[in-house]
Symmetry: C2
Subunit: 191 residues, 2 copies
């Protein structure tokens, strides 16, 4: 499973097996059970997570007390509250496992030490953030442009495996629907 991380690094910069084992020494491998929290609101955000297997989600609890999911991360995706992570500050977010998952975690000081010791990882993280930022800019465009229902159709069309995999009540939370409304839209698509 750990090979997934090497393959992901190799997409952006080639590393040897020896370099990979040195790089891995900066990380902690961690198993996380479904619904277990890796981060909770008010805690200092210490770790940046790479998903080896499984699925995480990030959410905050809005003023009505409702969980609002803002992001998912499946295999080879990274997840943290980047703002709080860089500042080692308290976060307004939760990070929770959607499925039983295996993750790699790295704290900010270790990530900085890693890129200093392995400049190839500077390149790797540059690409990781570059692509994450690009995706996030498109997401903002969609948030302005599409209705909630159009957003669901967009995700369904572009990421069908992802939509199938995420439990319906979490997909609803991500889109700002009630689960009942999402269920109706899905029925419409089938008929």
């Amino acid at each position: 499973m750990i090979e997934r991380f090497k393959q992901h690094i190799d997409k952006f910069t080639k590393i040897t097996e020896e370099e990979f084992s040195e790089i891995l020494s900066f990380f902690d491998e961690q198993e996380v059970k479904k619904k277990e929290n890796l981060l909770m609101e008010g805690a200092v955000c210490r770790y940046h997570y790479f998903v080896l297997n499984g699925c995480l989600r990030k959410f905050f609890v809005n003023e009505k007390g409702v969980e609002q999911t803002t992001e998912f991360a499946i295999e080879t995706w990274w997840m943290t509250d980047n703002f709080a992570y860089e500042r080692r500050e308290a976060t307004p977010f939760y990070i929770q496992a959607v499925e039983n998952s295996w993750v790699l975690g790295i704290d900010y000081a270790s990530q900085e030490a890693l890129v200093a010791a392995h400049p190839k990882m500077e390149r790797y993280f540059r690409f990781v953030y570059q692509r994450a930022f690009a995706a996030s800019q498109m997401r903002i465009k969609y948030l302005y442009e599409l209705s909630k229902e159009e957003m669901f159709h967009h995700f369904n069309e572009h990421y069908p495996d992802f939509v199938q995999r995420i439990p319906q009540y979490l997909m609803a939370s991500f889109l700002g629907f009630t689960p009942e409304y999402l269920s109706e839209i899905r029925k419409k698509i089938r008929s």
Copy 2:
């Protein structure tokens, strides 16, 4: 004015004057007049812009034909459609000068050549994208959490100079208001 770019790089990684002049050779400096477009919908997105002086905005034209502003960039901020830039694809966005501006532009091949020749710039861009992504994640949280009026109050409180500087009709376009409604909110704040 060009010193602004060196100071910005120095925030993340120290470079010599000699390195800086080599780095600059990868860029084109460009003056852009107020309301002039640096990028138009349907064109291939070739350049990544660094604002030396002035202000840019990014917008798309929605299906009602209305300009929807999604981003601003003032001094030391970068701007492009990152998705289309990396793929050298046609963009759905416009980039337009809000004020007479001076920018540095770099195409994707040159940016890749730059980071290969100057690994310190790999570090610089890693930080630029890391912070841009972090800001963008917070922005997504606010888009879920805040009403348009609350979003205005948030910007007004956290970035008062920015809100003063941006023409009211563009601030309205950014927030998804009519200019008349924004004007009313501003009156309420003053009274």
